[in-house]
Amino acid sequence: MDWQAFALSLRLALVTTAILLAIAVPLSALIVLGRGRWLAAVEALATLPMVLPPTVLGFFLLVLLGPRTAFGRGVAAVLGHPLAFSFSGLVVGSVIYSLPFAVQPLVAGFGSVDTALVDAARLLGAGPVRLVSSILIPLARRSLLAAIVLSFLHTIGEFGVVLMLGGDIPGATRTLSIVLYDQVESFDYATAGHTALLLLGLSALALVAVYATSQKRGSVRSA
């Protein structure tokens, strides 16, 4: 078992999820509470990575962040190293790739909050930050939890973007998915099985955690 890759995957998923939350919560609130047709374009843009093949997204990011573009050269000059083929680059790619998986549940959750409650809070002086923190998030906490878990799991299982943008550098960009690919390619099916089981276990554990905290045990489900 490649525990270094396991640790790297966990670190990537945690960092990505934290950054995604910081972006997705205000963005989703803006999409739900804002006015103007331009918001439809914002939502479409935030959803775009969902329909893009991961390898295509990875390729675009590789070119954008590489030395071929002024942007890539500028970033490299600021950071002292190119973003492509680095952990930071993987984080950028993962955040973009998993953005829809954080935004979509939050938009659905925030959108389901009764507008009368939003109006009441605004009338009582709540600004956007308080409105989100004291009304939208508590009332859409299941959606928030879903966004966290989906972002985390989506990043853990990511392959196409990681391979394109990060390559296969041990300790820097080699995640569990890449390790699994390498193991299969070298016909080491026994170890690949363990890696796959580990990924499966992580996913199952996260989902159980979501259902355990988001459902009232013993409640009768209506049809």
Partner: protein, 236 residues
């Protein structure tokens, strides 16, 4: 004094109302769809007119010509709707305290107690909205709206879930409190008895236009006769 001139449009419904309310207690009367709730939402700043202005005691709250649009929480205006819209994850007391962030904790607690007492809901302080009846929730919503000491109180069928006796008693207490605290009230209703009972100034709305404005006894004379006629008709 509240004065406004408002032009608004929603689909095929065109709303145009120009008025000045000098009375402490003004009732907006009209059938469903006349534009009562539209007017209250515009006054509260929740919706914006295509053109027009709103001024409360000489202070411009909305003025489309000069781009003034004071946000809802900064207009010293509260709105209580037929649907109480209490925050379901907060207790009744926390709901009332929501608009009191500028007060320190002891002052906030005192204000919450005072407001709950005013609406006769002291014993409901620790309850969550899901444990309140419709009438209880409306009383807590009223306490929440009054807590930040608004200058203008907008009520949209606020006592519809209360029985007649409770509603009358609360109305007397509320009007007394509003007079003491110099708060102007605008009440939307389609129940003529509310307007007649409070001897209010009445704005009669019909299809988004002002039909009449004046004392309840005059504006609602025909409505009063209709109600009396119904009471005097022997049951079959």
């Amino acid at each position: 004094m509240l004065s406004f001139s408002l032009d608004s449009r929603r689909g095929s419904f065109h709303f145009h109302v120009e008025c000045t309310f000098a009375s402490d207690w003004t009732v907006i009367f009209g059938p469903s769809g006349a534009g009562k709730s539209t007017l209250l939402r515009l006054l509260a700043g929740l919706d914006h007119p295509i053109s027009g202005s709103i001024a409360l005691d000489g202070r411009a709250l909305t003025e489309t010509a000069s781009g003034i649009r004071v946000p809802p929480g900064h207009r010293q205006t509260s709105l209580v709707s037929q649907q109480p819209a209490l925050f379901p994850h907060l207790t009744a007391a926390a709901n009332v305290a929501y608009g009191l962030r500028n007060l320190d904790r002891p002052a906030r607690a005192r204000r919450v107690d005072e407001m709950l007492d005013l609406v006769g809901a002291t014993e409901l302080a620790a309850r969550c909205p899901e444990d309140l009846s419709g009438g209880q929730a409306q009383r807590v919503a009223l306490a929440r709206a009054l807590a930040p000491a608004p200058r203008l109180l907008l009520l949209d069928e606020p006592f519809s879930a209360l029985d007649g006796v409770t509603s009358d008693a609360l109305l007397v207490r509320l009007q007394h409190w509003l007079r003491e605290n110099r708060v102007q009230a605008v009440v939307a209703t389609h129940d003529a008895t509310d307007a007649i009972a409070t001897s209010a100034e009445v704005l009669l709305l019909g299809d988004g236009r002002v039909t009449a404005l004046g004392p309840a006894a005059e504006v609602l004379a025909s409505e009063r006769d209709r109600l009396l006629g119904r009471l005097q008709t022997p049951p079959r």
